[in-house]
């Protein structure tokens, strides 16, 4: 069962259009909300006139920001509805609730807000300049988590410091030093399903939320914390989620739905984004500016790295603090560097606020690091894969946060690089001129990632049985399209030696009855929930054996479970069918023993620690998945246009649990990475208003525009993971932007250090012209 390409359990529902998502749960009598959003990026709110809107028939309530508590996961800096001022274009200033969506929209159009525009901040570097407008004047007074370090009087929401080794020594040992700067603006996740939620407050105070979310258990907890509700009275349902990519990890619309329902006496209210709002009102893919300085010996051993990440956290810090911390944790890329200095800042700007984006800070930082590695190789005149191989992180090395690596907690990067080298025929050519205009070039990159998650994050699983002996598998992992729940079924099927069709998976989440899985983020579903399922299976097996031991009059130690039976290990012809014992065993005379069988299991991460404030030392995550990537492009030297011909990823996945599912995850991630790198960005005017918040002007990669994908796996087991499998949901993305930029820089013979790589950018860089429009 392990490694088999089992078709995902929800596949038929999805391909026939029967699968239900949050917005499909309509109910008669449900009210509808429309969000009124700010046309300005930074402005004082003088007045909000709601009288006209309030007189529209069907309008039940208009909720504004006054008197609401501040929210935010690591730093409470965000009013759920803007109050006093708006800090980004698209920020919610009012929520209109009406009987129908049409009425709500009509009324929303009649709300008049008087704004007084303020000077806006358009990038992290701008935000850090002396005299830059302060986006949060009250930063000093915000309630904050123990490990968030805002710097009042500035636009810095958080700073993560990494101090490892001795920089002076590192620079002294370096013969060659290279320094370069990088930049890209925020962009979108562009999930097919826009973000949406409903809320209802019942007579007894029970709050029922349905949400398209990666973090239903966090919604429950945060509504409790922010609004002083009893956490046990908050019930969150999450059905299938139509793509999330990190954009559904933050909690935003759920709070609005709750507030809206409260304003109408608890009636059920549906809140959903239009596509335009989903792009800018809800959290976005983070932007970044960076400067990287690397020193190495003449023979190519890296001795020092000084790294400055300036993340564009946007108007509010929320999940961005975590993202910028994750980038710092793995700041060097998968290389052994003894002397490291890194400051990773979460900076406030007047852009939409940031959330995780698949790879959680890693494709962003890898773009800066892997471009610098290429520049270093060029300066040293060393083969680019050879330089990466020489410095590849290995067991025995330490990470930037000083975790000692061993054969289990890090994958085999040299094996990934070696396989990539063969796969893309690197040694045959790296740049060839096809004719006077056309050139083909290859670019490579490496990546790694651990999961910087809460040190006490846990996952639970419950198994119940049906009268025919089949099993129901209940886990808190949200099915966000990754097929994780099918992989969990495979893990269980292997463990119970049971047909996969006899394992029924509960797809939707109900926080009242589903055991908690921390959050469905960070490529941690299979690892944590997989361990919980194995633990639940062990529990069920122990109980099955205990009853069967009585029935078969044998010692439990002599029994095995499998193939729908509990049988004697040395004589399988003596057995009892599982179906005869999972609801208790009934003897022929009617006496019964045992009872309904429920397997339970859980997993909690082990030995994780927060990072030291001054040095960053600490254990942020359980393991590092490593990967190597390549992109081959064909570039037109006259037009500056290009085609992506091939894209390759070699990932040490530990163990392949479901081959096609893994390939799908990796290719999907690669596609996102290439789309982000080649064409996805928000475009801002000089007042920091977004100009392209529609899919006709913001255009992700289309079917038919894809390169040939080449994906291979290395299998170095993570000893404590289910069957040795490592996280793989994000890693295909990590090196794609860098590999594409590296290939194009080689082809165009000019360093390309910005994203996305529009032909106009290459033209401007190559021609050395400073045109301002994009």
């Amino acid at each position: 069962m392990i490694g088999k390409s089992v078709i995902r359990k929800e596949a038929w529902d999805k391909v026939t259009g029967r699968a239900k998502y949050t917005h499909d749960y309509f109910e008669v009598g449900m009210l509808h909300a429309k969000l009124v959003t700010s046309p300005y990026a930074h402005a004082r709110i003088r007045e909000i006139h709601t009288e006209k809107a309030g007189s529209v028939p069907g309008v039940r309530a208009i909720v504004t920001g006054e008197g609401l508590p501040l929210t935010g996961e690591d730093l409470r800096d965000r009013p759920p509805i803007a109050f006093d001022k708006v800090r980004y274009h698209g920020e919610v200033v009012a929520v209109v609730v009406a009987d129908t969506l049409v009425q709500a929209e009509k009324a929303a159009n009649l709300i008049h807000v008087a704004y007084e525009p303020l000077p806006s901040v358009g990038s992290p570097r701008e935000a850090l300049q002396e005299g830059a407008p302060l986006i949060h004047e009250n930063l000093a007074n915000y309630q904050k988590g123990k490990y968030s370090y805002p710097e009042p009087g500035t636009n810095i929401a958080h700073r993560t410091k990494i101090r490892k080794g001795n920089m002076e020594k590192g620079w002294a040992e370096s013969d060659v030093v290279i320094e370069a700067s990088f930049a890209f603006a925020p962009s979108d996740h562009a999930a097919l399903e826009i973000r949406c939620a409903t809320a209802e407050i019942r007579q007894d105070g029970t709050i029922v939320i349905i949400a398209s979310s990666q973090a239903p258990f966090m919604i429950k907890r945060l509504i409790g914390e922010y609004f002083g509700e009893d956490v046990g009275k908050v019930i969150v349902h999450t059905p299938l989620v139509g793509g999330a990519y990190g954009g559904k990890a933050p909690v935003q619309l759920e709070l609005l739905a709750y507030l809206a329902s409260k304003a109408v006496g608890g009636r059920k209210v549906s809140v959903w984004n239009t596509r335009e709002q989903d792009m800018i009102t809800s959290p976005v893919h983070i932007g970044m500016e960076a400067t990287v300085k690397i020193g190495c010996t003449a023979d190519g051993y890296i001795k020092a790295a000084e790294i400055l990440f300036l993340f564009d956290g946007g108007a509010y810090s929320d999940k961005a603090i975590d993202v910028t911390r994750a980038a710092a944790v793995d700041c060097t890329g998968p290389y052994h560097i003894e002397n490291v200095w890194c400051d990773s800042l979460c900076v406030y700007t007047n852009h939409p606020y940031a959330s995780p984006f698949r790879s959680f800070g890693h494709c962003e930082q890898a773009f800066a690091i892997e471009r610098t590695i290429d520049l270093l190789a060029e300066k040293l005149n060393i083969d680019k894969l050879e330089l990466r191989m020489k410095n590849a992180i290995r067991p025995g090395h330490t990470t930037p946060t000083q975790v000692v690596l061993n054969r289990s907690n890090v994958g085999n990067l040299p094996a990934c690089i070696a396989r990539l080298r063969e796969l893309i025929q690197w040694d045959e050519w790296q740049r060839i001129e096809i004719n006077s205009r056309t050139v083909r070039a290859k670019g490579v990159s490496c990546g790694w990632k651990t999961s910087t998650i809460d040190t006490d994050a846990s996952s639970g699983a419950i198994l119940t049985f049906n009268p025919d002996g089949s099993v129901n598998l209940i886990s808190g992992v949200v099915e966000i399209g990754t097929g994780t729940k099918t992989v969990l079924a495979q893990i269980l099927s292997e463990k119970l030696k049971m047909d996969i069709d006899d394992i029924h998976v509960k797809m939707d989440i109900d926080t009242q009855t589903t055991p908690e899985h921390w959050k469905t983020v960070s490529s941690r579903g299979t690892f944590m929930a997989g361990r919980a399922v194995l633990s639940a299976a062990d529990d069920a097996i122990r109980q099955l054996k205990a009853i069967a031991a009585c029935v078969l009059r044998a010692s439990a130690e002599d029994l095995e479970v499998g193939y729908g039976k509990v049988f004697l290990r040395d004589d399988p012809s003596i057995y009892v069918p599982i179906k005869d014992i999972v609801y208790g065993y009934k003897y022929p005379n009617g006496n019964a023993i045992g009872g309904q069988l429920i397997g339970r299991g859980h997993y909690i991460l082990r030995h994780l620690t927060p990072l030291d404030k001054e040095t960053g030392a600490g254990k942020p995550g359980p393991e590092w998945t490593v990967c190597a990537h390549a992109v081959e492009i064909e570039f037109d030297k006259r037009d500056y246009t290009y085609q992506i011909i091939k894209a390759a990823s070699v990932i040490d996945i530990g163990k392949v649990l479901n081959r096609r599912a893994a390939l799908g995850q990796v290719m999907g991630a690669m596609s996102m990475g290439l789309s982000f790198a080649s064409r996805e960005t928000f475009l801002f005017d000089r007042y920091e208003r977004i100009l392209n918040a529609q899919l006709r002007t913001y255009r992700p990669i289309r079917f038919g525009e894809h390169p040939e994908y080449m994906v291979e796996f290395i299998e170095t087991p993570q000893i404590d993971a289910p069957y040795g499998a490592r996280g793989v949901g994000e890693h295909g993305l990590i090196g794609m932007p860098a590999a594409l930029a590296n290939a194009l820089s080689v082809a165009a013979e000019v360093p390309l250090n910005e994203l996305p790589l529009f032909p106009e950018l290459i033209w401007r860089t190559k021609e050395g012209k400073q045109y301002g429009s994009i």
Partner: protein
């Protein structure tokens, strides 16, 4: 969603449509003729389009005609772009149409809607301008036929209450040597940075543009420069660029300078083979 209420009307004759429009207007309404409706959906949600009555012209037989008769090709305004592509009566129009939006949208978008639209690319008008076609317009005084050059200046100059019924193309244009190129910011779907279409008639190049300015155009002076055959083509192109109408677009698709760079290459790519061919 469309943020206003509107009434839907489905006339089955031209006269009925025109009468409807008049009546609705007299009632104080803002009626709008429409074909595919994609633009109403796209722009109304941004509050950039409004109509409280829409008149669907897809059920008027004349608007759905695709016919070749007496050396003339007639295309109804309500034909979808994909139906024109599939029938392929005018290969240059097929090429231009097939690069508008994406297949799903083109199943909806009609020829008339694209030519008369508010979104200013209106790329399918380029072959019509090049073919010196005629347009049939319905209004309260009945039908009239006009040269496209009279009616289309930057956009269709229709009188209040008028709508485009058909375009009529002289068949001799349909098989002329032609070329078309659409250059985008990135990728294979999306608005143009520049679209250029050209035909060669009696050794003269006819050239029309979209995406260069906030309107499509065919310019006499630009064509004169491009046809000054005593000069090398590069010289002609760079001279032609100086006679472009203003303003040149400077927007999220690309800067002025980059657009002109792309346009220069696009022109030499399509005109050289066309001239030599």
């Amino acid at each position: 969603m469309v943020p206003f209420d509107f009434t839907y009307h489905r006339p089955s004759s031209i006269e009925e449509a025109v009468r409807l429009f008049e009546r609705l207007h007299k009632q104080g309404k803002t009626p709008l003729y429409y074909g595919g409706g994609t633009e109403i959906i796209t722009l109304s949600r941004l509050n950039l389009a409004f109509a409280d009555a829409v008149i669907d012209i897809k059920h008027i037989p004349e608007c759905c005609v695709l016919r070749i008769e007496q050396n003339e090709l007639t295309l109804g305004a309500a034909l979808s772009l994909t139906s024109i592509e599939e029938a392929n009566p005018f290969p240059l129009l097929t090429k231009t149409a097939s690069e508008v939006a994406d297949r799903t949208a083109r199943n909806q978008i009609t020829l008339g809607g694209n030519v008369c639209g508010q979104i200013f690319y209106r790329e399918t008008v380029l072959p019509l301008l090049l073919a010196d076609c005629h347009v049939v317009i319905a209004g309260k005084d009945g039908l009239k036929q006009r040269s496209i050059h009279e009616v289309f200046q930057q956009r269709m100059r229709l009188e209040h209450g008028e709508f485009l019924v058909q375009v009529k193309i002289d068949l001799s244009y349909v098989s002329l040597p032609h070329a078309h190129t659409k250059r985008r910011k990135q990728g294979k779907v999306g608005y143009p940075l520049v679209t250029v279409a050209a035909i060669k008639k009696d050794e003269r190049l006819h050239v029309a543009f979209s995406g260069v300015c906030p309107f499509p155009f065919r310019s006499k002076t630009v064509e004169e420069q491009l046809n000054a055959r005593h000069l090398p083509i590069e010289t002609r192109i760079s001279r032609a660029l100086q006679y472009l109408p203003k303003p040149i677009l400077n927007d999220t698709e690309g800067s002025v300078e980059y657009r002109l760079f792309v346009l220069m290459n696009a022109l030499s790519d399509i005109l050289i083979p066309l001239e030599e061919g």
